[in-house]
Symmetry: C2
Subunit: 491 residues, 2 copies
């Protein structure tokens, strides 16, 4: 199979779609808006899951599972939630098919549900309806639960990983006795997400708070991490919501406090999704294909033996390749030996570049004679011949260096794309010509925020945490402002 | 909270339901037929997933993810599949809600889908529709893919874990160039399931082949593992299907063979589900609650310090308890130290018995003086005071012994409940009075099989693998038969 390539600089969107397809990550399915996550893409998602799940458990959370379906009436119970979520969703109305005419199967109208079921777009409602039975006393709190699940939000314009009708995610839902505790949980999970993004995905993120307009439907405060993609557009990579007592009130979830009073429970929810696959791809990849940070690569090292036609030489090279493979495995490094004989080394090299394998080791007969190997790193594409002595240690160090370099490169790009502006002209120039985040004063009203979005397509990504207070005037209205916020065009 | 107990011998069904609830494994949700899997139940399911997933990967399989929804027309493509699956299922007909009168939300009739979508009851159709694009040549084969997913089969009478409208499972779907290879895969996965059932769940299983009547809709041959529960009813615990070329023909999936011919691809599928939680509970548990095999217990050992009122004694006991905890952890044993002070040891003992923790270690001040601990095993309820020297090693051995004992006990029960009968009277007597499996001659016709089911509620669980050929006469019709098959009443 020939590898089709599209230059990132020429058509970013086509480059992305082509890379997702060529690197065997995902594809569109026969069901509009739903994707198939292919084995290689899923293996990367599994690594993400493992890393996240470990962090959730280390912070005291347990997994559980709640129903896929939510009764329609549940969505009406939290006033703002319904507007945000219950509109574009998959509605189950019947529970049986039957044989119709012409050997077709048709919906059995006798099997109409009394109340329609919604395929969950998010699970606050069904979970808080459940928590009512789990919580009586302060001794039942906190509840620290996470769910790994599929969710459905009907989307008209979809893009693989970034916006699909069905996607995979985790959603944490916690219940607390006090507001302070719930706020602390919300912030803790934001830190967990930021740590994961930066140290595993190697994507630097800005931690911040959403404006009222961008807040989760039903939240008091929405915290977020925002990344910057290589086309200068921002991507929301995860959110953590302080829900106050909104859902407890909607579903009548009370507890008896230590002071023996009946009080409503405080809530948080937080989630990241397969959208992170999009963030990963768009942050690091290049014209040759995917670039994977070693901490996330299902295969960290590939060994390609350069096989001679002489059998004894071939055997000796293969033996050495296997020896190196075993040595790396012992260090806990994930390594593949590609000894296919009907495929050329050049083809293999291109394939593993496309798939983003961080380190490639090539070894041929001359290497064997000289006790050397050729090591190529995916991130910089540097190749180097080096002694094969203590190769395990060298590869281990190299993997760390690659992880660090990928992060630093993304960080440098991001930092070079935060533009501090003071006027409307500068604001537009930054958005149009410089791309990236624009740090500007805003008068704090939703009206102005929406007007700016209408005029420029830029949205307020967040008010960064620990933002410096600074008097200024709104770039659009000239009204007074006390701090800058970050605008960007976003996915 | 008081623990409510029901005796297994008095009402098996009520005992099961009560145990699932009391041990915090699962509960019914607000959505009819759908369950909530609670954190403790889910932790056990996660252990099952980890053990199965490792075995799948060791046998060369990769995970992937396919859409939740399947277009209705897909089900008509494989003639027998539609009858088996497409009838009782959740049908999505609309993709939007809107505000109606009285502040209610209603289905938006303008958002009716052109073709209804079915929430997957199993994924052969959508997967084989996808494989058509993945397979061109024999070089693309085999495809060895597994999916962890939720599925929905509309059930009228449900029971937690055993039969629910939504359940969690894995479904393997493989594609092969030859019939032999596909049959070998089908059998391999049956062996993987049997190994998992016996060595992890500690449930002995009979491996066999289903009759035509009990076969998976669309399969050429269905292999299964069958367990026996403590009430003498059988439970199908996993199936592995040889699908022949049925789905390849239905979805036009061909490949160019080595001989350069166009041929249809050969298929298998295989699955186990959260039903295994039911098998686990019903195989080992007793009147005190759950009994978990150590290989599956999220917590293998619990340490309960018996805390004196004197602070120095309390501190010393706690320090020793922590030392033991650390020592066990180092051996890779999952151990919990319960140092709650407002809960009595007796209450803790009952709680951990209910939850099936295999080993309980109690340590008090007198133990400290004597360098002893009290060790209780959940399976036999034996308690023993023993020296705390080299306790890690003793606990390690004990966990192995418990795993073995639980399996042996289930095996003894199972073996004592296989009744070989030759007449219709014996057949009925065995079913009614002895319970368990009944090994009997059957004339090989679906007609007789269904008649026996109608008369006795017993079904043919399987024709055991490597069954001895033996001439005889059918217990019902007296017609000639060449081998015995296993009947039982089943879940």
């Amino acid at each position: 199979m020939e590898i089709k390539k599209i230059k990132r600089s020429e058509d970013y969107s086509a480059w992305y779609n082509n890379l997702v397809k060529q690197a065997d990550l995902a594809e569109h399915s026969a069901v509009k808006g739903c994707m198939v996550i292919k084995p290689y893409g899923y293996a990367i998602w599994e690594k993400m899951q493992t890393e996240l799940d470990r962090r959730f458990k280390e912070t005291g959370h347990q997994n559980a599972y709640f129903p896929l379906f939510i009764p329609k009436s549940f969505f009406s119970k939290e006033a703002s939630h319904v507007d945000g979520f219950a509109k574009e969703c998959a509605v189950v109305t019947h529970y049986r098919l039957k044989n119709g005419e012409n050997n077709e199967i048709v919906v059995d109208e006798d099997a109409k549900l009394e109340e329609e079921l919604i395929v969950r777009p998010t699970s606050e409602t069904i979970i808080w309806n459940t928590y009512r039975d789990w919580i009586t006393s302060h001794r039942d709190l906190p509840i620290l639960v996470n769910q790994w699940a599929n969710v459905v939000r009907w989307e008209m314009r979809t893009r693989l990983f970034l916006r699909t009708t069905e996607f995979l995610w985790q959603e944490g839902h916690t219940a607390h006795a006090t507001s302070d505790e719930a706020v602390a949980e919300t912030k803790q999970m934001l830190e967990v997400y930021a740590d994961f993004a930066e140290n595993v995905l190697a994507v630097p993120v800005i931690k911040g708070v959403k404006t009222a307009n961008e807040r989760f439907a039903g939240a008091i405060e929405t915290y977020c991490i925002e990344g910057l993609m290589q086309d200068g557009k921002a991507l929301q990579m995860g959110t953590s919501h302080f829900l106050g007592q909104n859902f407890a009130k909607a579903f009548d979830v009370k507890f008896t406090s230590k002071e023996n009073k009946q009080e409503y429970v405080w809530a948080t929810s937080w989630g990241v999704s397969t959208r992170l696959m999009g963030a990963l791809i768009m942050s690091h990849s290049d014209d040759e294909g995917l670039v994977l940070p070693p901490n996330l690569a299902p295969i960290q090292v590939v060994i390609v033996p350069i096989l001679s036609k002489k059998e004894d030489e071939r055997e000796a090279v293969l033996a050495k390749a296997k020896e190196i493979q075993q040595g790396l495995k012992k260090r806990g490094i994930s390594v593949k030996l590609d000894d296919r004989e009907n495929t050329t080394p050049g083809f293999k090299f291109a394939e593993y570049e496309l798939k983003g394998i961080p380190v490639r080791i090539a070894i041929g007969n001359r290497d064997l004679q000289n006790n050397t190997v050729e090591i190529a790193r995916r991130d910089t594409k540097e190749k180097q011949s080096m002694s094969s002595i203590d190769i395990e240690h060298k590869v281990e160090n190299l993997l760390q260096a690659i992880q660090q370099n990928i992060f630093q490169k993304a960080m440098d790009y991001r930092d070079a794309h935060i533009h501090v502006v003071n006027t409307w002209d500068e604001f537009n120039d930054a958005l149009e010509n410089k791309t990236g985040f624009v740090s500007a004063h805003w008068d704090g009203t939703t009206e102005t925020e929406l007007k700016i979005k209408e005029l420029t397509k830029a949205t307020i990504r967040c008010v960064p945490l620990n933002n410096k207070l600074e008097n200024g005037t709104c770039v659009l209205t000239g009204n007074p402002s006390t701090q800058r916020v970050l605008f960007a065009k976003a996915y």
